[in-house]
């Protein structure tokens, strides 16, 4: 009766391991599915996209069925879920990859010294450029940053250093959160309505664009700076107070320098965000083919508005040229925005304060 040694051979004993698919089962199933997709699409003569869809379908059906037969229902459901969840990621990557590919392949052809050095002044077909739009973007964005960065950082300082537990601080935190959701075009309308009060109807100014962008930028700066200031350990502040340093000097000399890397990262990301903003500038900064370096008078074109105008209202005869301009400008804009993003990450990673732990 005591057949301790022979347990594995008896058929009625409970198995210690549930049956499961072989270790490389998933990979095998994927190879199988790709084969099915390729075969079916060859037979019915469909393209590569259809082949991919069929392969995916085959995988989603075949692997769970196999799993159901071997492992049982719960494991099969788990495999379906895993497949679907990974598929969502793959699906989400399609727009990113195709967008970057499209912009690079269509935009790189037109890039040249001439494209960067010419404006669209007196240009009808070929020979135009984005000189004026690049400077417009630089000026409008720089002014927006000049307005938003001090206000944003000071507000963050208020929230973290002065306002803890106060009602005003709670209200402002909430309003800043809500403000991040203001549609960009509404910010443009706000700036327009504001400047109409001063300059009369039909006003178009570069500085108005900066004001509109500030409305979008301030909440981003506040949020990121606030998070960074919160990370500064209280011990640093207490040590400073203990040495008799006044509160404002503690903030300026101890708290802000400790958090500066994170704050700069946040500001850079905010700049990247508003540099690509179109709608408010379309409304308040207007559109011109000429180079205008003075934000306080007349219209100013920025890169995004330039792209929009080139596509939305090109002169009838030169549709193709203007589409090329738009793609070239889009490539330039995406490059600038991506560089700013990378820069922000590098700053954040390199200058991050060494954590005490």
């Amino acid at each position: 009766m005591t057949d301790l040694t022979t347990t594995p051979s008896t058929s009625d004993a409970l198995p210690l391991q549930a049956p499961s698919l072989p270790r490389y089962g998933t990979i095998f199933a994927i190879v199988f599915a790709i084969a099915v997709g390729a075969l079916v699409s060859m037979v019915i003569g469909a393209g590569s996209v259809a082949a991919l869809v069929i392969a995916w379908l085959a995988l989603v059906v075949a692997l769970p069925l196999w799993s159901l037969a071997v492992e049982g229902g719960r494991k099969a459901v788990d495999r379906v879920a895993t497949l679907l969840i990974w598929s969502t990621f793959g699906l989400a990557m399609i727009p990113l990859v195709s967008l970057i590919y499209t912009v690079v392949s269509k935009g790189s052809g037109i890039l040249s010294g001439q494209f960067f050095n010419n404006s669209m002044r007196n240009v009808l077909g070929e020979g135009g450029g984005i000189y004026h739009a690049i400077f417009g973007t630089l000026i409008v964005t720089a002014l927006a940053a000049a307005i938003s960065v001090p206000i944003g950082i000071l507000t963050a300082i208020y929230l973290v250093e002065y306002g803890k537990g106060k009602k005003l601080a709670r209200v402002i935190t909430f309003l800043v959160d809500v403000m991040t959701g203001i549609p960009s075009i509404v910010a443009g309308l706000f700036a327009y309505a504001l400047f109409v009060l001063i300059f009369g109807p039909g006003v178009r100014l570069g500085i108005g664009g900066s004001v509109a962008l500030s409305v979008l930028m301030i909440p981003i700066v506040v949020r990121s700076s606030e998070e960074m200031l919160k990370l500064v350990p209280d011990e640093l502040r207490e040590a400073s107070y203990a040495l008799g340093v006044p509160k404002w000097r503690t903030i300026v000399k101890v708290v802000v320098p400790t958090a500066i890397a994170g704050i700069v990262t946040g500001v850079t990301l905010a700049i990247a965000r508003v540099a690509g903003e179109t709608a408010p500038l379309l409304i308040i900064a207007g559109f011109t083919t000429d180079t205008n370096l003075n934000p306080f008078s007349d219209r100013m074109t920025t890169l995004p508005v330039y792209i929009f105008q080139s596509i939305a209202s090109p002169p009838g005869l030169y549709r193709q040229e203007y589409e090329d301009y738009a793609w070239g400008a889009a490539l330039t804009l995406v490059t600038i925005v991506m560089l700013l993003n990378v820069l922000a990450r590098v700053i954040g990673a390199v200058f991050a304060p060494k954590s005490g732990r």
Binding site: V186, K247, F308
Partner: protein
Amino acid sequence: MAGTVQESPTEPDPGGPGGSVVTTDDGGSTGRVGDRVFAGLSVGSAVLIVIVLAGVAIFLLEQGLPALGNSGESAYGKDNIWAYVGPLLFGTLLAALIAMIIATPLAIGVALVISHYAPRRIATAFGWLIDLLAAIPSVVYGLWGINFLALNLVPVYNWMGDNLGWLPFFEGPVPNSGRTMMTGGIVLAVMALPIITAICREIFAQTPKMHQEAALALGATRWEMIRMTVFPYARSGMFSAVLLGLGRALGETMAIALVLPPSVLVSLNLITAEGASSTIAANIANNFGNASGSKVDTLIFSGLVLFVITFAVNFLGRAIAARGQVKG
């Protein structure tokens, strides 16, 4: 030495209500000018934000409300202002609804990949990739939508029109340009995806480890563990994430302005060009440059309507998120 160290903490009076934080002394550093100036500056800029937000509402009201009586020419040929704004509002909501239907499951899946499925090192890189999606300017999305996505979707729409044409949504006729409501919704979905993902993945990652390990220890599969521990914990967060994504989709301008042909009418037909309704934001972008006089007021009024709706949606989203935080 020791004397100065003990002397200077003039602030151990527990700062203000809430009291638990030692470092706050409510700016009461006994009358030093620098302190008062700096405190004043920071309070001032904080209050300025409130003023700006109030200013947005006030200026829009001031410029927009006169348009309430507009009709005929100044309401772009409609009988009254609502006949003009109404269809645009419908288009706005429809486009955002399509975007949410597509983006929500995708975003939750992507967030799960980043928080639970991918190995940690790869997950960070994946997070960056999704952030890149958020960084691309909206006008570039529009350009891509009109020149790449729309054209490539035409065969899909044709198939839908042939096979699902009995549904009012997919009646057709499909335009060769592919510039339809559906295309607009898909572009909006791509743009709202990173926002929803960012919030969801943060909340998924906060699910108590103990709950997850307990579920796994009881023999749950990974999916069962996620269904039993992660989703219940993150429910309110997911809801507010969707609302915030909705706020983005409602206010998005350029992508729709480029993708959808401008028209003002109510139509449920998603895959046709003539019958597609435009959105408020796109309509403003398309018409503001040429508008003058009372037409400007009409457009600003439609902007006010958009502002009120997005404000309400964001307000609700943030309120739910805040409540969830207190509970969690």
